[in-house]
């Protein structure tokens, strides 16, 4: 984990020196994660790719301003959050904060505690949660960000982030329990 962070920091430093191959590697390394995160916020796949593109262009443009290379993940997610939110605002979807349900898929599942199947179930249930809850849970599960980092990414206070994560977890557990009962 620590090695990952350090190699990331080295890549960021190389990018700050305008090393194109380092940037390419950074894109390869972070793209699947960003894609997953953005897919949980923006539903249309072509919108996700557009947002990803804007995110990377903004990263390339502003990477020299990043003071601490170790904070790259937080900074990257912050940019993609802002891009996604501005896209949703354009379409008036962010204010709504809810999405349609994907209940049909998960009802047939029995909750199995094996990590892989649990992940599959969580992935399906994430689609049922409120957008704000889905976002914090994705950040929590995918990157293990701290409350402070999550607050920074989403642009809310630490207290709000903490309570949002708490409610999101409760909502997810309730959904998990529901899926287990069926």
């Amino acid at each position: 984990m620590k090695q990952d962070k350090l190699s990331n920091a080295v890549l960021v430093l190389s990018c700050q020196k305008r090393d194109e191959s380092a940037f390419r590697e950074l894109v390869d390394r972070w793209e699947p994660r960003l894609y997953y995160y953005l897919r949980r916020i923006v539903e249309n796949e072509s919108d996700v790719w557009d947002t990803l593109q804007e995110t990377w262009l903004a990263v390339f443009q502003n990477i020299r301003k990043l003071q601490d290379p170790l904070k790259f993940p937080t900074w990257l997610y912050q940019i993609s959050h802002n891009k996604a939110v501005s896209l949703l605002r354009k379409e008036n979807r962010y204010a709504q904060m809810t999405v349609e349900k994907m209940a049909d898929d998960c009802k047939s599942n029995n909750a199995v505690l094996a990590v892989n199947e649990q992940a599959e179930l969580v992935h399906k249930l994430l689609g049922q949660l409120k957008l704000a809850h889905r976002e914090v849970l994705t950040l929590h599960f995918l990157e293990g960000f701290s409350i402070r980092e999550m607050a920074q990414i989403i642009g809310i206070s630490e207290g709000t982030a903490k309570s949002r994560l708490h409610y999101a977890k409760n909502e997810l557990y309730a959904a998990l329990k529901g899926a287990n009962d069926v």
Binding site: M1, L6, Q16, R18, E20, F23, R24, V27, D28, E31, P32, R33, Y35, Y36, R39, E45, W49, L52, Q53, W56, L57, F60, Q61, R64, Q67, D68, P69, V115, N116, Q118, A119, E120, V122, H123, K124, F141, L142, E143, G144
Partner: protein, 192 residues
């Protein structure tokens, strides 16, 4: 299974539930890199164009000095060419200095960072004020009729650049030395 490994495995499995299609990923990367290449090319072109305009302007002013039969104008154009050239040199030196400062800044604490920022802001404002004032002074010297007075006045315009021409190279050198010490410290004590 230790907890961090479990978390990582869970995250990996979560990612595996909705991976981007390889085709789209490849296409997206190609488009992205093309856009970035174009952007970099444009930036380089703009910078080269700006420098070319500056040097052409300086060279033009230097040539104008030859085609005038007015002594005051000849002195004025000669000084204008040097004025443009020296200030553009200061701009380049400042750029190099800022680049070095960006590298060392990551190792400074907040107080030092703030102090550096304030100092840079002060120097930038000072440079802009001096550039504007000396340009105005130079412009006014074209209207003088006494060539001796004109020569005496325009020389002082060139002196306004001296401070920056000395300050930035020395600052850059000291930053390089600081960086080298930091590197040595990391080398000796394995500090990151």
């Amino acid at each position: 299974m230790s907890e961090p490994n479990g978390k990582k495995e869970f995250a990996d499995n979560l990612l595996a539930q909705d991976p981007p299609s390889a085709d789209m990923q490849q296409r997206h990367k190609e488009v992205l890199l093309k856009k970035i290449e174009r952007r970099m090319c444009l930036q380089r072109t703009v910078i080269i164009a700006i420098y070319m305009v500056i040097f052409l302007a300086a060279f033009g002013a230097f040539n104008l000095r030859k085609y005038t039969d007015n002594v005051v104008h000849a002195i004025g154009w000669g000084t204008v060419s040097l004025h443009i050239f020296l200030w553009s040199l200061i701009y380049i030196l400042r750029g190099i200095c800022m680049e070095m400062e960006g590298l060392i800044e990551k190792r400074l604490d907040n107080d030092e960072r703030r102090r550096n920022k304030n100092q840079n802001l002060f120097l930038t404002i000072l440079a802009i004020v001096l550039f504007v004032l000396s340009t105005w002074f130079l412009y006014r010297s074209f209207f003088l009729t006494d060539s001796l007075k004109a020569a005496q006045k325009v020389v002082s315009v060139l002196w306004t650049t001296i401070f920056f021409l000395i300050f930035y190279p020395f600052r850059t050198a000291s930053l390089i030395a600081k960086l080298w010490f930091e590197y040595k410290k990391m080398d000796l004590y394995g500090r990151t």
